[in-house]
């Protein structure tokens, strides 16, 4: 219990440090830091309907973040959540376009499944390269994000293009209403139910199954797990596939839910924020729930800021980035603990 409290305290302390850095940068850039933070707080949590907007962003973010939790616990830095999320969206849109005239419920289920499958496939190749030949997964998944982004542009301006759309942003035809799982508000029993189900499943998987427990051990000491007879390659590939699948599901939820169509470049900060949520929550599923609500608020504030407060939404990107910069710091708690050995990636 004390270790958990220390972890929470540490996360809060480093998030506060990140906010201080952001405040300094805002002041240098000529914005008033207190005003900026007040506007962010207002847009995120206090204004009318802010909590509903918060949930609208938090649900897909939480689903993506559970995938990051699985991969990172296993020790694989799958930072390709954004690309897998886009592929999930494409999968859902393909299913909707490819099954005209089917019963709506079946199409919805098929779209969610195809999105999940596409996401998993987009995580498969970096995972395969990593496990087969040790190709660094950070680069492959990052490059995968750019490739998926371009694929999304091609899909929305080519095969699935909405001919009546305007020139500025390309998008697919709107998803017919009966197939969608929520209105534009993005909060519906279907979405909440899916989110809770994914959360519960991943919690059980991580904490109560051999896969989750061995994966968590593999992330800390792969050599030991190998010597105990577990197949590291299988664990790793499973972690990649599952993390891609959840990101894909989140993408499908976004297309079938609040967005209602496949738009090129939708939710551009999804992947990075999902990684952040998992890290701030110290790779715990239950912790991710609360942290996802916090970052969901920030995501809704990034729409609120330019429209209502007239401030640039890049401020939210800065806050997220500054948190990423500090959140893995370990100097502070180590003063209260015996010195631990340090593992550095480059000195393998």
């Amino acid at each position: 219990m004390r270790a958990r409290l220390a972890a929470v305290g540490r996360a809060v302390a480093f998030v506060a440090l990140a906010l201080v850095l952001c405040g300094a940068i805002f002041e240098v850039a000529g914005f008033s830091a207190p005003d900026m933070f007040a506007a962010i707080l207002d847009g995120a949590f206090l204004s009318d309907g802010a909590l509903a907007h918060d949930l609208r962003w938090a649900c897909p973010l939480f689903v993506s973040a559970t995938g990051v939790v699985i991969a990172f616990r296993c020790g694989y830095f799958n930072v390709g959540t954004q690309g897998q999320f886009y592929l999930g969206g494409i999968g859902a849109a393909v299913a909707v376009a490819g099954l005209p005239g089917w019963p709506p419920l079946l199409v919805t289920v098929a779209a969610l499944l195809l999105g999940t499958l596409f996401g998993a496939l987009w995580a498969f190749w970096p995972g395969w390269l990593r496990i087969r030949s040790g190709t660094d997964e950070v680069i492959t998944t990052l490059m995968g994000n750019f490739i998926a982004g371009l694929l999304l542009v091609w899909v929305t301006s080519g095969p699935l293009k909405d001919p009546s759309g305007s020139g500025q942003v390309t998008a697919s035809r709107p998803v017919p209403l009966p197939i969608r799982i929520s209105s534009d508000t993005g909060v519906s029993p279907a979405i909440l139910g899916l989110t809770v189900a994914v959360g519960a499943l991943v919690w059980v998987l991580v904490n109560r199954t051999a896969f989750g427990v061995l994966g968590g051990l593999a992330g800390r000491n792969p050599v030991m797990v190998t010597w105990q007879g577990a197949r590291l390659s299988r664990l790793g590939l499973g972690a990649f596939l599952l993390s891609g699948a959840t990101a894909g599901l989140a993408g499908a939820m976004e297309v079938l839910g609040p967005d209602g169509r496949l738009v090129s470049g939708f939710s551009p900060a999804e992947g990075f924020t999902a990684v952040l949520i998992a890290l701030v929550a110290n790779l715990s599923v239950t912790g991710s729930v609360i942290v996802a609500l916090f970052f969901g608020g920030l995501a809704s504030a990034s729409l609120y800021l330019p429209v209502i407060a007239g401030l640039p939404s890049a401020a939210i990107d800065m806050v997220n980035a500054a948190i990423a910069l500090f959140i893995t710091s370990r100097a502070w708690p180590s003063r209260f603990r015996p010195a631990r050995f340090r593992l550095r990636r480059a000195s393998r």
Binding site: A3, L150, L279, D317, A322, L325, A331
Partner: protein, 295 residues
């Protein structure tokens, strides 16, 4: 042929400068994924300061200054707060991408492109097709050679390599790994700032938000592909630039039959191919060696 050489050099040079920053960090034992952030900061500071002062020298100085400042921040977080270098580097990249967006809006009040009145001096029309090459491109081979000498033929370079490969051994002969890493990151910050400035001031003299589009990550991949060697990384960056050029050529020749979006994917695919080959040839990361959680 000359057209190809000039075009590839112009595309590759910004990446090469940034890749050299990556080589320095790699030698010192840091996987610097903040390169993308340093590059865009350099690109933004270069154009904005040139536009404000009218002097390219001020623009280049600003690009170097801001990039060095961010590098110092990264060192502080990695070395003093002992953060995970990969996540901290990605955070720095986000800070660069968001910060330049914010800076452009703070200075010009709108989100869009900024144009500098003057660019980095070029050879001029007297040299025909080579006239498009600017000072930084011409200086590039000498810079790479100088870096090779520094890393492989000086006491400092060898100590730096020792700090990266076996910090304990380096400490035992009196080298302070933390300090060596600071020097490597600050030097790298200078080079990455120049690379970013070359990207924006060298070509169209325009800065637009997010214009690096993963080139900093590609430069990092060039470091891996080039086995952490300055010359290797240079050729890797030239290869990525060549692929990009071929794609643009293919589009000119084949037109509609070479879809634009797939052509744009080529450099990213080449990057994946590059580090896959690198892993096959030299052995990659065999086991996952990152520990994030305590206790």
């Amino acid at each position: 042929m000359i057209e190809l050489i000039v075009a590839v050099l112009r595309t590759a040079t910004p990446m090469i400068y940034v890749a050299m920053a990556g080589v320095l960090a790699q030698r010192a034992g840091i996987w610097n994924l903040g390169l993308e952030g340093l590059m865009i900061t350099g690109a933004c500071a270069g154009v904005v300061l040139t536009e404000q002062t009218g002097s390219v020298a001020a623009g280049l100085a600003g690009a170097v200054l801001f990039s060095v400042l961010l590098s110092a921040l990264l060192w502080l977080v990695i070395e003093k707060l002992r953060a995970n270098p990969i996540i901290a580097g990605l955070g720095l990249t986000g800070l660069g991408l968001g910060g330049t967006d914010l800076a452009v809006q703070a200075v010009y009040g709108s989100e869009g492109a900024v144009t500098a009145p003057v660019g980095i001096p070029t050879l001029g029309p007297a040299f025909g097709q080579f006239g498009l090459l600017d000072v930084l491109i011409l200086a590039m081979p000498f810079m790479v050679f100088a870096l090779w000498v520094l890393l492989r033929r000086t006491r400092f370079g060898l100590r730096l390599a020792a700090c990266g490969e076996h910090p304990f051994a380096a400490r035992s002969v009196g080298a302070d790994p933390a300090r060596m890493r600071l020097i490597a990151l600050l030097l790298g910050g200078m080079l990455a700032g120049l690379g970013g400035a070359e990207l924006s001031l060298g070509g169209l003299q325009i800065f637009s938000v997010g214009m690096t589009a993963g080139r900093g990550f590609m430069a990092f991949a060039a470091v891996i592909f080039g086995a952490g060697h300055p010359v290797g990384a240079t050729f890797a960056a030239l290869f990525f630039a060549l692929v990009e050029f071929m794609g643009i050529k293919a589009q000119l020749v084949f037109g509609e039959r070479a879809p634009r979006d797939f052509v744009l994917m080529l450099p990213y695919l080449a990057t994946v191919l590059g580090i896959w080959i690198s892993a096959r040839l030299r052995g990659g990361v065999p086991l996952n060696t990152i520990e994030l959680r305590d206790g």
